[in-house]
Symmetry: C2
Subunit: 356 residues, 2 copies
């Protein structure tokens, strides 16, 4: 599709709230930028998007997504190039993935120009909200909800697509301590574990809370058949460095989100000549590698969390303490490489950087 | 718990919208009564509930349930006794089930007096919205959503519980045609298939839409391991009359909703001396019974759908056409029995009728 300047009606705030933001203490997901985008789907087509001051939605209590969870979202980040211009990291991939989620949830696909050009204009308008330091970014949250005022169970006829943005500090400040789940199940073949539907997250709150009470940061989910093969961590894909190979679960069973950071990491590792295996990985194999001293690194990847080291992995009674995450060679290299690309200190050879 | 008159602040509408309702043409879930109830949970406790005119919610676009689906609901019905007084059918059971959903979704349990006494006062205030004819009712929708304005994935600290009501005609006017699902999966052990979480319904829209396009009303879900054992239908539990026994899937694997109509039906059948087996039931067994001519009746049960006959069941290439549903002895008896109890034409020996 040609990149056209989609006409978006913009209503600007009278006074920016940017002064409320303390640039030295940016927390994840606490403050929202001055503006948001809204596009409604009605009568079988998308209406013209609008950018307006960030404000509350007015929704009937009978709005169908409230009751039946026909709701999807994406997570995208904007950074600043070394000269200060805002850039967005791989938004086209998020657009494509959002439309996969839309299809599975029986929602209308979002046109590229609404998603991408809408996001571009929103970030351009709120560009002073894109933080400048290396571990910060502007977190961009596109989402879509079903908006019929009807409480029968059926796909909605009306939808609202929206984008809000939020200056973001690191999601995890420290390496994670992970508990391998062997009771609750996040995703199953034939379900929706491979898309970003709201329902996937709500159902994980209770199991996650339980492991947090036990002193862990997150769950490593396993398959629902045998609780044997690892899937993903909370909001992240998972990687293990075993010997000289990097291993991550494959996407073939529809139970794992096709992470965009996951894809970036695989691409960068392969280009560096490191073997990456996408395949089923059992907890037994991880334990065996640990006992043989070849489990060198473990980490999670995601837009919110970027690349985050795993310091400890507990499976039943076995506590696997990894070597010092500060010394994780691959993780540290990936973090620097990704950071250099995002901030345009290194050439973008993959077309990942979208200039606002 | 003692039945106390919980103090609820009530703001009444200036003018009722009851005249908008055509009593001879009541459709499911299209019109909402004059008032609604809201109770907020903040600072670790439930605040005083309020009854107010039915009105839109004002919600931040960052409200956590919009993104992560921490949302649950119930379905309850009010009828009229033969003398015209409104009664609610088994609300205590819905309250208990809602709190089971709350626990699994890491949400606060709702006190009995807010749920029951709040519902009682709401229905009493809007009692003219309870339809009078036999196949109609006032559908009551209690629901709870997570209301923190925060887009990190974690359980919310604030919640809103609400009840809205809607005059309801029959959910299915005719016997259903059902397709046995052998690709998509609704629920698996360790998941949330046994609770009324919003996410369970959104994920079913696409598979349901596909079978509707093929000419069926609903999906009969099967287990995710082998697609062999039947679970439930769309918004209903499922029963099969095979020979002189009534068989329905048991609740032991956490994949099936513990329907309140299901329970009422089992109770009534057992009291009548009919054998009810709650156990695993394979599609093979159903097919075999069909071929042997002993598959006599099949039906779904649910609050919205009450007891609804199945006219046809299709599994892969096999189309099982049941005998004329108009002649279903057990279904017709159950419908009459339940209707007589709901409208107090028959004595309520089970404590199912809650007088408003």
């Amino acid at each position: 599709m040609e990149k056209t300047a989609l006409k978006i009606h913009i209503t600007q705030v009278e006074k920016s709230r940017i002064n409320e933001l303390d640039p030295d203490n940016i927390q994840f997901g606490k403050k929202y930028s001055d503006h948001m985008l809204i596009a409604n789907y009605e009568d079988g087509e998308w209406q013209e998007p609008e950018i307006m001051p960030f404000q509350n939605f007015s929704l009937s209590p009978a709005t169908t997504f409230i009751h039946y969870g026909q709701a999807i979202f994406e997570g995208v980040k904007a950074y600043r190039e070394k000269d200060g211009n805002p850039v967005i990291f791989r938004p086209i991939d998020n657009w494509k993935r959002m439309n996969k989620s839309a299809v599975r949830m029986d929602m209308p696909e979002i046109p590229e120009e609404i998603f991408i050009e809408g996001m571009r204009q929103l970030v351009a308008l709120d560009c002073k909200w894109v933080p400048t330091t290396d571990r910060t970014s502007l977190y961009i949250r596109p989402f879509m909800i079903a908006t019929d005022e009807f409480i029968g169970v059926r796909p909605s006829e009306k939808y609202m697509f929206s984008i809000i943005t939020s200056p973001a500090g690191p999601y995890y400040a420290k390496p994670m301590s992970i508990y391998v789940q062997d009771k609750y199940v996040r995703a199953f073949p034939g379900g929706i574990g491979n898309i970003k539907a709201a329902g996937n997250y709500g159902m994980s709150m209770y199991p996650s809370h339980m492991v947090k009470n036990m002193g862990y940061n997150e769950i490593l989910w396993t398959d629902g058949f045998e609780h044997k093969y690892v899937q993903e961590i909370g909001t992240m894909n998972v990687f293990f460095v075993i010997g000289d190979k990097v291993i991550t679960p494959d996407l073939n069973r529809g139970t794992i989100l096709a992470g965009i950071t996951r894809d970036s990491v695989i691409t960068l590792l392969q280009e560096k000549g490191i073997t990456v295996e996408e395949r089923r990985l059992s907890i037994d194999e991880i334990e065996e590698a640990y006992h043989n001293g070849i489990l060198k690194e473990a980490f999670g990847t995601g837009t919110a969390a970027s690349v985050t080291s795993i310091a400890k992995l507990t499976y039943k009674d076995e506590e696997m303490v990894l070597p010092d995450p500060e010394q994780f060679k691959i993780v540290n290299w990936l973090k620097k490489e990704l950071s250099d690309i995002r901030h345009s200190r290194k050439e973008d050879t993959h077309g990942w950087i979208f200039r606002v």
